[in-house]
């Protein structure tokens, strides 16, 4: 979660100029997992721009979310190469396995599923990226094992 101080630390990294809006918002997204309203309000003040403009950016760019995300972010690549090599089958597999659709978070807060355009790793398609780990040449067969490794780790914690 976030505190007012944490928000301020992120904002203070940047000069009070409009061109740093994107960068500051990305830092917030990275640190908190989403863009808290207080964060955007404080940033608007810092950059002397209307809150509505930051809100429009927050909803325009895919990198941002206004809702908190799960502990692990699953990015399923739906680039063309992945798509024709079974990406859509994988999507259904993950949906079945987790009971959520793209953009949603599991009730236990463990996983958020995102459908992304192209991770630029077409040579090992189809690809899923969980946090920073790439899983190339994914199949329905391998899927439960991969997801379970994260579940197991969560139980052990």
């Amino acid at each position: 979660m976030h505190t007012t101080e944490e928000i301020q630390t992120v904002i203070d990294r940047y000069p009070g100029s409009r061109q740093y809006a994107l960068a500051a918002m990305q830092d917030m997204q990275r640190q908190f997992g989403y863009l808290p309203r207080e964060g955007l309000e404080a940033l608007a003040k810092h950059l002397s721009c209307p809150f509505s403009q930051l809100f429009s950016m927050a909803t325009f760019y895919k990198a941002f979310s206004l809702k908190p995300k799960g502990r692990h972010i699953i990015k399923l690549c739906d680039g063309t190469a992945c798509h024709i090599r079974g990406g859509s089958v994988l999507l259904e597999g993950i949906e079945r396995e987790l009971g959520i659709k793209p953009g949603e978070t599991t009730p236990d807060g463990l996983f958020t599923l995102q459908l992304v355009n192209c991770l630029g790793s077409c040579a090992i398609s189809p690809v899923i990226l969980i946090d920073d780990t790439f899983y190339g040449r994914m199949t329905l067969e391998k899927l439960p094992g991969v997801l379970n490794s994260y579940r197991k780790e969560a139980v052990e914690r």
Partner: protein
């Protein structure tokens, strides 16, 4: 001279375990001690190109390449170096089973000509010394001794055209920007590589970031810019890291920063991380995004060379374009222009992906034919399946059928046939790809990525998507294809930016070259490729089935019944038509039927 081991540490190879390979090699070298004829540190390089066969290891200067290397191979590799005997089992073997040592002899590499990728896979991208050792920043030094006009003339002579897809002559762009006496001016690198299926820019940024910085610095001198930005996709974490490191190194060494090589001319470069919007690959949208606004394109009555970033003269080029610049300045524009075709000079990097045998990144002279790319270099279609189409140019491109494979790939040829070379993504499709579904896929992609500013693109794409979804789900009607064509023509004529103008290309080319598939969906309610679920049923051919059980193992819902060594059967009520059985079957026993066919 000691030998050097290069390990590809690009995303693809890393996912296959390249880091463990590099670590194991370093341990083995250390264990072999002082007598080992190898540099102690293994060079962790950018992409070697041949991602399919990764993790890739290469030994220089002998040009020995090892494929599919595992950490457990490290002892043999190091022993092989000590005894001067390559490890045969890791080498490439030709069709007669004969191993080949020099990498250059491999069919995947034989026809390639590396200019933009000259250092990618050869150097440690985090080492400035490596870049300098291969002639890095010589072009910048030379440019400082040239007048602005000389630099611009050299660029014009080279015939270099923008590698992002539009193909605008780079030299002319620079000269226009140089002509305006409005300061400050800006140089911008477009690293918002959004075309699905393309990753050449990522590989250059990750594997050779200094070449891009050097290209930008040369341009800054030529037009009088003192500030620049590199807009890089948020998804490309490694690229952002590599470029930031490179900027810091170049500033410390005096190539960038307050005074370029002591000339008194400054250049400050900064990385801006993209926000994840495809439309930001469009130049004016990208500039809006750098300024801290929503990335919407504007009408280009006034071009960005005159009024770009913050309404000041701006030169924006694609990553690959920038990487070509140092070569042109060092070797001369005329030498560069000797490569390629009449109207498209130099080389182009392609990402060869999809259902092709040798997936990876290749660089060939312009004018190479699709057949050479896919069959000679790419080794043909994977798993012995028949070729159906190649999709070029990303969502703005088109699908090209087999009878047109002898077309040359350059800026102008493919455009005549409704497709385009674009940024160089090349996605090979076999008989298991449905062309209607591929068109639907691209229109879905574009309708989500349309910024919504102009009506034809926003609403037109939505309507096209609805029609295509209907066709894929068995609700297609007579006249749908003609309606798609009319909508497509409207989008081409009336959209504001290139996203909307080129958006109908995947639909129109599939209609033009694969009309029979549309008709099969609409009239016969079947999907010939077996992709559209609602129109497909899989059947196991009892004659061909040997009862190996591979399909039953692959089936995620347990829908396949049958005893071992007896022909199997799919239970239709359990089948979700995912096609896993078809992929798993090595005997071609799983056949595609229409839902209503018996």
């Amino acid at each position: 001279m000691k030998q050097t081991i290069l390990v590809c540490c690009d995303t693809g190879c890393l996912a296959n375990g390249a880091r463990a390979v590099a670590d194991a090699l370093e341990r083995e070298i250390a264990a072999a001690g002082i007598d080992c004829p190898v540099e102690r540190t293994v060079k962790r390089t950018g992409c070697h190109g041949f991602c399919e066969a990764g993790p890739l290891v290469r030994i220089q200067p002998d040009d020995i390449a090892y494929y599919h290397v595992k950490a457990s191979d490290a002892p043999d590799i190091v022993r092989g170096l000590t005894q001067n005997e390559p490890v045969r089992r890791l080498l490439y073997k030709d069709e007669n089973g004969e191993p080949h040592t020099p990498r250059a002899a491999h069919p995947f590499y034989k026809r390639q000509e590396k200019i933009a990728l000259r250092n990618v896979g050869e150097i440690d991208p985090h080492s400035l010394a490596d870049y300098l050792a291969r002639g890095g920043y010589e072009a910048l030094g030379k440019a400082l001794t040239m007048t602005q006009d000389e630099i611009l003339t050299e660029m014009e002579t080279s015939g270099l055209r923008g590698r992002g897809g539009a193909g605008f002559p780079t030299g002319r762009k620079w000269r226009s920007a140089a002509g305006y006496d409005v300061f400050p001016k800006y140089v911008v690198c477009n690293g918002d590589e959004g075309d699905p299926g393309a990753f050449m820019d990522r590989s250059i940024l990750e594997g050779d970031p200094h070449s891009v910085l050097e290209g930008m610095a040369v341009c800054a001198l030529a037009i009088g810019a003192e500030e620049g930005y590199l807009y890089i996709r948020d998804e490309y974490d490694m690229a952002v890291h590599a470029v930031n490191t490179a900027i810091r190194q170049a500033e410390e060494a005096g190539f960038l920063g307050e005074s370029i090589l002591g000339s008194g001319k400054p250049l400050k470069l900064r990385v801006v991380r993209g926000g994840g919007a495809f439309v930001c690959g469009e130049s004016t949208a990208l500039m809006a995004s750098i300024e801290g606004r929503v990335g919407e394109p504007r009408a280009k009555y006034i071009r960005s060379v005159q009024r770009g970033l913050w309404d000041h003269p701006t030169v924006l080029n694609n990553v690959e374009t920038w990487a070509n610049v140092p070569v042109i300045i060092t070797g001369g524009g005329a030498a560069y222009a000797r490569l390629g075709t009449e109207s498209s000079k130099g080389t182009k990097v392609f990402s060869l992906v999809g259902k092709v045998k040798n997936t990876g990144l290749v660089e060939v002279p312009m004018g190479c034919t699709l057949r050479e790319l896919i069959f000679d270099i790419g080794g043909g279609v994977a798993d012995g399946r028949p070729f159906k189409a190649v999709q070029t140019g990303g969502p703005s491109g088109g699908c090209i059928p087999e009878r047109m494979l002898d077309l040359a790939v350059d800026f102008d040829t493919l455009t005549k046939y409704g497709a385009m070379m674009g940024s160089g993504g090349m996605i090979v499709m076999d008989d298991t790809s449905c062309m209607v579904e591929v068109a639907r896929y691209y229109v879905n992609f574009l309708s989500e990525e349309s910024c919504g500013k102009c009506t034809p693109c926003r609403e037109g794409l939505r309507q096209m998507l609805a029609i295509l979804t209907d066709i894929c789900e068995g609700r297609g009607r007579e006249g749908d294809v003609e309606l798609l064509e009319r909508l497509g023509a409207t989008l081409q004529d009336s959209s504001l930016c290139a996203l909307g103008k080129s958006a109908p290309n995947p639909v129109l080319t599939t209609i033009r070259y694969f009309r029979d598939e549309y008709d099969a969906h609409i009239r016969e309610h079947r999907c010939p490729a077996g992709v559209c679920r609602k129109l497909t049923a899989f059947r196991i051919d009892a004659e061909k089935c040997v009862g190996c059980g591979a399909c039953a193992k692959a089936c995620p819902t347990g829908a396949i019944e049958g005893a071992l060594k007896q022909s199997h059967r799919i239970e239709p009520t359990k089948c979700i038509v995912c096609g896993s059985c078809r992929t798993a079957c090595r005997f071609g026993a799983v056949t595609v039927r229409g839902r209503t066919e018996q």
